[in-house]
Symmetry: C2
Subunit: 172 residues, 2 copies
């Protein structure tokens, strides 16, 4: 009846994590930071860019005509437009991306993957995939892989900026 009764946000007696939850959370933190660092170093060494930037090139390579509006690319990569602006500037300086004006919207910019960008992707993709494989998939059973996919899907959905009000169902 009373929504405040079932979700006391953060007031009153805080509900701490149980010992088991703490172990899970710590494992999560350790695994994710170690993996991200690992891939960052691998790509910095082999491709000359951090993991996020690599992800941007992949996003462009998959898009029709290898180009995407800034906002779309930002959403696809789950980063802010500001961050993307800086990132694209850097990738442009490296010659892997160029900007184009959007014909239909004079405010808009298209990020376009250059041939050089496609090249560096082709060249570094195998090593990157191998790293992901070795760090993640090779260590997990098929069941664990499936489970991981479901779990991450759920978590991601719960955090989409779009679904911001998802925890206020009575306002929908």
């Amino acid at each position: 009846m009373d929504p405040m009764n079932t979700a006391p946000a953060s007031a009153d007696a805080p509900r701490w994590l149980t010992g088991e939850e703490q172990r899970i959370w710590r494992s999560y933190l350790h695994a994710t930071t170690l993996l991200e660092d690992h891939l960052d170093r691998q790509l910095q060494r082999d491709a000359g860019m951090p993991h996020v930037y690599y992800g941007l090139l992949v996003g462009l390579a998959e898009a029709p005509h290898r180009r995407l509006r800034m906002t779309e690319l930002a959403m696809k990569a789950k980063i802010t437009r500001s961050r993307l602006s800086h990132a694209i500037a850097r990738l442009e300086k490296s010659g892997w991306v160029r900007r184009e004006d959007c014909p239909s919207d004079k405010r808009g910019q298209l990020a376009v993957l250059t041939d050089a960008g496609m090249e560096v992707l082709k060249r570094s993709a195998p090593g990157h995939v191998a790293a992901v494989r070795q760090a993640l998939f090779e260590r997990l059973t098929p069941e664990q892989q499936k489970s991981l996919g479901e779990i991450m899907q759920i978590v991601a959905e719960g955090l989409q900026p779009d679904d911001a009000g998802a925890d206020l169902p009575w306002l929908r």
Copy 2:
């Protein structure tokens, strides 16, 4: 018999991710970046520091006498000593940590959690735990939580700098 036969590293025909593996990997990337951003903003707003810094305070709070050698703290938090140096400098400027010389090793430094640091921890912990709960645990079944713990444990173990040569068992 021949180790090279079972692990062609990254040469020759690269073994790409299957469609299902790609979905899993993307979900992983989206979930982890969204969650880390979410917690970073939450803590920046409520505690005035990013998530990693908060983790450092927690690490100190758990340590005997609320103090830890720099290297130990760095290992506990899975970050480099360089990064830790900067972070501690910042936390020191905020008054939440202070440095002490290590008695037994003149090279060493101890990072010590101050009372003010303990205060900010106490004050912001409930909100942080609530955020973790809401973003992660509340959305997963007990089985999924258990599975997540096991998976992350495995991944983390595989990336520990200590275990660097774990994929070269014949050298052990």
